[in-house]
Amino acid sequence: MSTPARDALSYQGPGDLTLTSIVLFTLGAYGVAAGAATGEEAVVAVGVFAFALFFAGIVWPIVVLARVRVDVVSPPDAIVGEEIDLRVHVQGGARRVELRVLDPPGQWWQTPVPVDGTVPHLATRRGVFQMVRVQVRTSVPLGVFVRTRTLRVTLPAPVTVAPKPANARPVLLALPDDQPTAPASIPQRGSGDAVRSVRPYVPGDPARFVHWPTSARRGDLVVREHEPPPAMGVALVVDLRADDPEAIASRAAGIGIATLAAGGIVWCCTCERDGPVSDLVVDARDLGRRLARAVPGAPATAPEHWPVEVVS
């Protein structure tokens, strides 16, 4: 995959001649030269036959591939080291082409045209990508010339490639009481031990929360309501200004995801293209996107009284 800023593409030749082309050209040149010298019609005919195939074999793939168009739709999120399925739509003049996705060069796939298909592609770099480079090639009909075109296809929606999470332990530290804890959208991953009150039973409540003495007294089922657990978590300050920013991002992702998985709350402080960003992390995907957008630069500061884990 390619970023919009990465315009400088290495030079791609129009294609490659094959052994067939050498054989046909040799036959054609010899036939035409010998035939013209001797005037023997059949020799010239053989030479013209070979030359006609040679030129048709070169022009045909150039012409059919010139009209090939490729559209690619990518899933919005990806993680470095994992394959994503790019939905590819190919149309144009060719009957069949071979296709692969570059950056890094993937496997060639053969397909008829037009077609809607899926090409698995390995996400190898962290970042936000607006474009993919796709190579199409064909050697129809004779295999004389393998015409290759490299197309830069703009994605309808960018794909965010999160860093690959490194193995890390969760960092669960007590958060200040007056600080905002888990937003409503964050599901509670457990409950405290202290009972706050009881309420009538509603279908779906676990049976172990039924408060039997009160239920017996009231004649209806009631269940315990517990106090929420104390807020635990960490503020990750990700500083990518070191030599290996990808390793830093990977470690930050590992810590953040482990903390979230353990029920903790994660605040992430990074530096993005538009400046420092400091915000609460909603979930692992949100953390991945934040880290994908992070660039080397001075990160934002953590909220006051939050336990801080500087990843640098």
Binding site: T18, L19, T20, V23, L24, T26, L27, Y30, G31, V32, A34, G35, A36, T38, G39, E40, E41, A42, V43, V44, A45, V46, G47, V48, F49, A50, F51, A52, L53, A56, V88, R95, R96, E98, L99, Q107, W108, W109, Q110, T111, P112, V115, D116, G117, T118, V119, P120, S139, V140, P141, L142, G143, V144
Partner: protein
């Protein structure tokens, strides 16, 4: 026991390439065999076997590379043999070109099939349809290129005149290609398949080089009247107008035949022409004899001195081209019979109707054959019929010894000879009957090339025939050799031996096939029995069809899917609910106690036939 699966040496997509590759090499092999004097089928078989083995049985060489190299070798063979066109070779060349085209298209397609298909994509276009379409388009491109380019590239082809490569005095040529003062009947002819020239002409004719009008028992020469040069030829650029002699009426009023000669030999100073040449397009200096034949001379050819070219005179070299327009009267039998009413020109009577110096019994035979016949034409036909009925053709006939009367020996002793003896006999008999006649030498029409339309004339087409003069019409060709039967080859024991030798290769191959068949038959028979025993049931065959349909639709059956499940999945994939009943029928046929009825099977097969991927 091992569970290892042996992989095929050649990937399946490439196997089909062996067919056109074998056809291409077979075509070239056939041409090469013909050139070498072997049966064409032998070369074709060798080419096909070599190609098949190369494509299928060389595991260390990539199939595509092997095929392309093979086709390149075939192309070199085509170029080599295209340099010498032949009657049967053109079609083989076309077959080679077509097979090469198909092989290249198929090998590219097979190469593509080794690449994995895009997941979720549609299957590739069908191999046969794609090959057919691409081959047709490419063939059209090749034909257009050939039509547009071949003539300009072969500049000489568009010319009607070209002197050919320089021919030096040391060049040796067949006596049939050089001016001769006499024709000896004691010399055996040299016959081979070497191509002498090709002729572009609307219809076949006898391509005449020279005529002889004086018979001297064992050789022919020309009278002074025939050998002296005719009236001066007039030239305008490359066009030479030949003044017809007064007695050759066909040259004045006959229908025209335009012939372009493409000379393939090393040297000739004869100008071959059908009937009576009236216009020759050439840049060579031509001379005309009194008999109307032409040759390449030097300086002026006037009527005062006899024109006799020296051996080192310039002539036509290899690849020379010249064009002749000839005329001849299209006379019917009635016209020829009525010719007797026209008086015979004195020059012809004095020169061509003189009784030749031959034995009395030859003259007596002529009288006997023509006795009671009133017209000249009937006499000629009677003589021709008699020669045809009483003599035999043999190129190995013992020639008359020098000093013997060759015609007498042929007619009364051996009755065995080739065209020169046969035609000479007819001329002598005709003259003995008072009919003006002369001997003509040159070449038979040859075989017509199916592709170029040219007549391909070989050394073995060298020929001699009889020309009879009819007053008011001119000279007409009669070929008595055509009605003469071939001589028998001799004793039975020797002929069996000779036949065995001639067909030794064929016999060896047939014998080898018989032995191989005898050795292989037990295992082949066992294999056939096992194959019959393994004949698939209806449910298996129907499941195969279902799976083929699914593969074409891009939804192959998973190993874990039952036929019913697969049919259901395919039904929703193709939006064809009827496919579900196919799965049910397969399951019922395979597992139920009663199987399926004929109607259920027919319904399932109808669903499969009507469903398109």
């Amino acid at each position: 026991m091992t569970s290892e699966v042996r992989r095929p040496r050649v990937p399946p997509p490439f196997r089909v390439v062996a067919i056109p590759a074998a056809l291409a090499l077979a075509s070239i092999g056939g041409i090469a065999a013909q050139r070498s004097g072997l049966p064409a089928w032998l070369g074709m078989a060798a080419g096909a076997i070599a190609a098949t083995l190369t494509v299928l049985a060389l595991p260390s060489v990539p199939t595509r590379r092997a095929t392309v190299v093979l086709l390149g070798i075939g192309g070199l063979g085509a170029l080599r043999h295209a340099a010498v066109p032949g009657a049967d070779d053109s079609l083989l060349l076309v077959a080679w070109a077509l097979a090469t085209l198909v092989a290249l298209v198929l090998v590219d397609r097979a190469d593509a099939e080794t690449i994995a298909p895009m997941p979720g994509g549609a299957p590739l276009p069908r191999r046969g349809a794609e090959t057919l379409r691409n081959t047709a388009v490419l063939a059209a491109i090749v034909v257009v290129c050939a039509v547009v380019l071949v003539a300009p590239l072969t500049d000489r082809l568009s010319r009607r005149v070209w002197p050919g490569l320089a021919a030096g005095p040391s060049d040796t040529a067949s006596s049939s290609l050089k001016v001769n003062d006499e024709l000896r009947l004691t010399d055996s002819p040299r016959l081979s398949d070497t191509i002498v020239f090709t002729v572009d002409a609307a219809h076949p004719a006898l391509w005449r080089g020279e005529t002889y009008d004086q018979f001297h028992q064992y050789y022919w020469d020309r009278s002074e009247d025939s050998s002296r040069s005719g009236p001066p030829l007039t030239r305008a650029g490359d066009t030479v107008n030949v003044a017809p002699s007064e007695d050759d009426l066909g040259a004045s009023v006959g229908s025209e035949l335009r012939q372009t000669y493409h000379f393939q030999g090393s040297f000739t100073n004869l100008v071959f022409a059908a009937s009576s040449p009236v216009v020759v397009e050439t840049d060579r200096t031509l001379c005309e004899r009194g008999d109307g034949t032409l040759f390449v001379g030097v300086g002026r050819c006037d009527g005062d001195t006899a024109a006799s070219p020296a051996p080192d005179l310039p002539g036509f070299g290899k690849n020379a081209v010249y064009t002749v327009t000839s005329r001849s009267v299209d006379a019917s039998e009635d016209d020829l019979r009525a010719a007797d009413r026209t008086p015979m020109p004195a020059t012809v009577a004095n020169r061509d109707a003189r009784v030749p110096a031959t034995t009395p019994r030859v003259r007596a035979l002529a009288r006997q054959i023509t006795a009671g016949l009133l017209t000249e034409y009937d006499k000629v036909r009677a003589i021709e019929a008699w020669v045809g009925a009483h003599t035999r053709y043999s190129i190995n006939a013992p020639p008359a010894a020098p000093g013997e009367d060759a015609v007498d020996t042929f007619l009364f002793r051996t009755r065995l000879g080739w065209c020169e003896q046969i035609a000479s006999s007819m001329v002598v008999l005709a003259r003995s009957a008072g009919i003006p006649a002369r001997l003509a030498t040159g070449y038979a029409p040859g075989d017509r090339d199916a592709l170029t339309g040219r007549f391909v004339v070989r050394e073995r087409d060298a020929h001699a025939w009889t020309e009879i003069y009819f007053p008011g019409i001119g000279w007409k060709d009669f070929d008595p050799t055509a009605s003469v039967r071939l001589a028998s080859t001799g004793g039975s024991s020797r002929s069996w031996l000779d036949a065995g030798r001639r067909h030794a290769v064929v016999l060896a191959l047939v014998l080898g096939l018989v032995v191989a068949g005898a050795i292989c038959w037990p295992s082949l028979a066992g294999g056939l029995r096992r194959r019959r025993a393994r004949r698939a049931s209806w449910s298996t065959r129907t499941l195969d069809r279902l799976e083929r349909l699914g593969r074409r639709a891009g939804r192959a059956r998973r190993p874990s899917e039952t036929p019913r499940e697969y049919a259901g999945a395919l039904a929703s994939h193709l939006d064809a609910p009827a496919l579900e009943q196919v799965g049910a029928a397969i399951d019922a046929d395979a597992f139920s106690r009663d199987g399926t009825s004929a109607d259920e099977r027919a319904a399932a097969e109808a669903v499969l036939s009507s469903t398109r991927p």
